[in-house]
Amino acid sequence: MNASSNGLMQQGWTWFSQALTQHDTFQGYFQPLMQMFAPQWSTDAYRAHIADIRDEIADMYTLVLKPKTGLIDRHWPTFQAGQFIELMVEKEGARTLRCFSISSSPAYYEKTGLIELSIRIQAKGRITPWIRQQLKIGSLVNISEAQGQFVLPEAALPKAIFPQPVLPKARADDQAPEKYLFIAGGSGITPFRSMLQQLNSPENPLDIQLLYYSRNNQHVLFQQEFEQLAQEHSGLSITFIDGEESGFICTEHLQAYCSDYYLRTAFICGPSPMIQQARKVLAELKVAKEKINFEFFGAAPVEIENNTQSAVRFQTSAKTVISEEGSVSTLLEQAENVGISPVSGCRIGVCHQCICKKKSGIVFNTRTQQYSDTGSEEIQLCISVAQGDVVLDL
């Protein structure tokens, strides 16, 4: 009863706003005016300013963000260690989005109001090098709410953050801490830094094995910090693995550096080949699927070969189309072939009726002969050909 009357109120308010402003919300109508006083103010994102920029290692830097608070800014809700946010920057007038894991902890945010993103400069990327050059301390950016399921179970976290019913003391002491195996590759270390910082409290017994793969010993992010953490906590053991020397993750590594892997819940984050490899190794060692969590990390660079095999995921219709190597069909044709009929018109890129939100992936625009960005944006289905894997909001 209450819920439905709330729904009606909401509908009525939307109608009222549409009638007066032709926008679904009054904020939408006022957005360009608000931006005169509050640059970057946006109805669908939060504002944050750059509090600091730190160069970490050769190709990585950390952005320290302070989400804005105050009268005109909605309060940025907090997050769980391991989650990511979309960072939105306006480059040449176009809003561009990239996803980054938050590399600092929720506890740190509660205390200081700051969050950190540690970003790897993609050699051929359009955005990551640009951000480093363009953004200065005090610059404004937009961020989304935190998202993602790559988080520790609530029970593992300090009670101050997630208050739980007080258990009888004796039983609480009996409980052995949950055991974890963290496998990180390169910049995939960032969500683990957040988790480790969050777990770093005296009353919180840890039992974590972290295998941290990096390209070589020049590319170890947060090394000192981690070494100190490991010294402070007997339950935390970190193995730094030099990729050049020891190679990719394999059964031997696991057996050598974390012999009780079968008792642990695994979290894997890094470049996608590494994740695939780690999952394969764990599967071969008969670790149950439910005990393996993973998060793909880092956007693929835009340069890719033509006519590769591609998988198009139509998210809303829950359908996937795999196209063969060398075949060229537009996303519109692919959608129609599996029985989805998006609104379409001219089929030559003129009328903009078949515009659709691309969630991720690269498409080739046959009209402009250009490759799209990797992030989320609007595309015209009738003149777009998938390059690699693409997810569509369709």
Partner: protein
């Protein structure tokens, strides 16, 4: 008379070179599109929102001095003209989709006029821009009310079409709203079994009435009632102000649009001839079927750059404020290939529209002969 394309068109080779020259103009312009364009459209939107808000306040202040009322009407008309032309029309063509801004986006935007944006996009961007000036395919040609070419059989009602034209201009927003949902078909006609529309008649009716209800609520009820809180007669002062502002906008938009396709020398085409056109042939037809008019920068903005109708038809998704520069280049290319390029002052062009409406009020000699025999 419908232009016989095949015999008038330059040969294939020439058209190919022509096509690549026009493509080049597009590429060079698109390379410049960026930050400046984003700032530009946001600035125009701010001016529009500003005049909307200040205009409505001024109307109420007409209570103290009628001069305020006049200023209010002017500002409100300006707001509606900017919203419909430079902002709405161009955004809904997808000219600013690259900005990735949720509110400056062809999928989301709706304009301050009776016609529902969604329905308009469906027919205008597709039917009108693909089948420009093809008799029988481009429903915009005369809006089904006016006979503007002798390819359309003369009917007695055409005798009064100048009067019809004045009515259409005055109530243009209703005309557009009705026309874009093909009102004569969904309200009166029989449903077609093989309808290709991606949307049902019921949905079309719903969007037609849904939008009009909102507009009536805003302009004829809500804002007048708000003013009535001050004193009752203000209800009528504000209502009248809103009506006058809408009337000014109607006349302006209809005049601008008529100058784009219905000038004396704007050509019409036959459907069969336009099948399997190459891009170059399509460009050629778009140029022949459209006409430009000249003016100052501010004037161009008030027309939503439809003063550069030719460039708009060649490059419908290039941010429109580039059209003025592109027009110089397109005109030079046309001169080089001996392709007619129809431009003149607004006054000249409008005069030829008036002449055309008047001319086709009467049957051709042939038709007269048949009728009298």
């Amino acid at each position: 008379m419908t232009t016989h394309l095949a015999s008038n068109r330059p040969d294939g080779e020439t058209l190919k070179a022509f096509e690549s020259d026009l493509n080049k103009i597009r590429e060079e312009t698109m390379a410049k599109v960026g930050d400046k364009d984003a700032r530009y459209i946001r600035k125009v939107i701010r001016i529009q929102r500003g005049s909307d808000i200040v205009g409505r306040l001024a109307l109420v202040l007409g209570f103290f001095n009628p001069l305020f009322w006049i200023a209010g009407v002017t500002l409100l008309a300006l707001s509606k003209i900017l919203d419909n032309m430079e902002i709405g029309h161009n955004i809904m063509h997808g000219q600013y989709d690259w900005m990735n801004d949720a509110h400056i986006n062809s999928r989301k935007f709706d304009w301050d006029i009776w016609g529902d944006g969604e329905s308009w996009k469906r027919y205008h961007n597709y039917e009108h821009h693909t089948y420009t000036n093809i008799i029988g395919k481009d429903r915009d040609y005369g809006y089904g009310l006016l006979r503007l070419s002798d390819d359309i059989t003369w009917r007695p009602k055409n005798r009064f079409q100048f009067f019809t034209y004045l009515l259409l201009s005055s109530f243009f927003q209703f005309g557009i709203a009705y026309h874009e949902v093909a009102g004569e078909r969904i309200f009166a006609g029989k449903p077609k079994n093989n309808s290709k529309l991606p949307i049902s008649r019921e949905e079309l009716k719903q969007s037609f009435f849904g939008k009009i209800k909102k507009q009536i609520f805003k302009e004829y009820l809500f804002f007048p009632a708000l003013a009535a809180l001050i004193s009752l007669p203000m209800f009528f002062a504000v209502l009248a102000g809103n009506l006058v502002a809408e009337f000014i906008r109607n006349l302006w938009t209809s005049s601008v649009i008529f100058c784009g396709h219905f000038t004396e020398d704007a050509h019409t085409f036959d459907e069969a001839e336009c099948e399997n056109e190459t891009r170059g042939e399509w460009y050629y037809r778009q140029i022949l079927g459209s006409s430009n008019f000249e003016g100052s920068r501010g004037f161009h903005i008030l027309t939503g750059h439809l003063s550069c109708q030719i460039e708009h038809h060649l490059y419908p998704d290039v941010p429109a404020h580039h059209y003025v520069d592109m027009a110089k280049q397109v005109q030079a290319v046309c001169a080089q290939y001996n392709i007619p390029y129809n431009t003149g002052s607004f006054g000249q062009q409008y005069w030829t529209v008036v002449k055309r409406v008047a001319k086709y009020s009467f049957p051709t000699e042939e038709e007269q002969r048949i009728a009298t025999n």
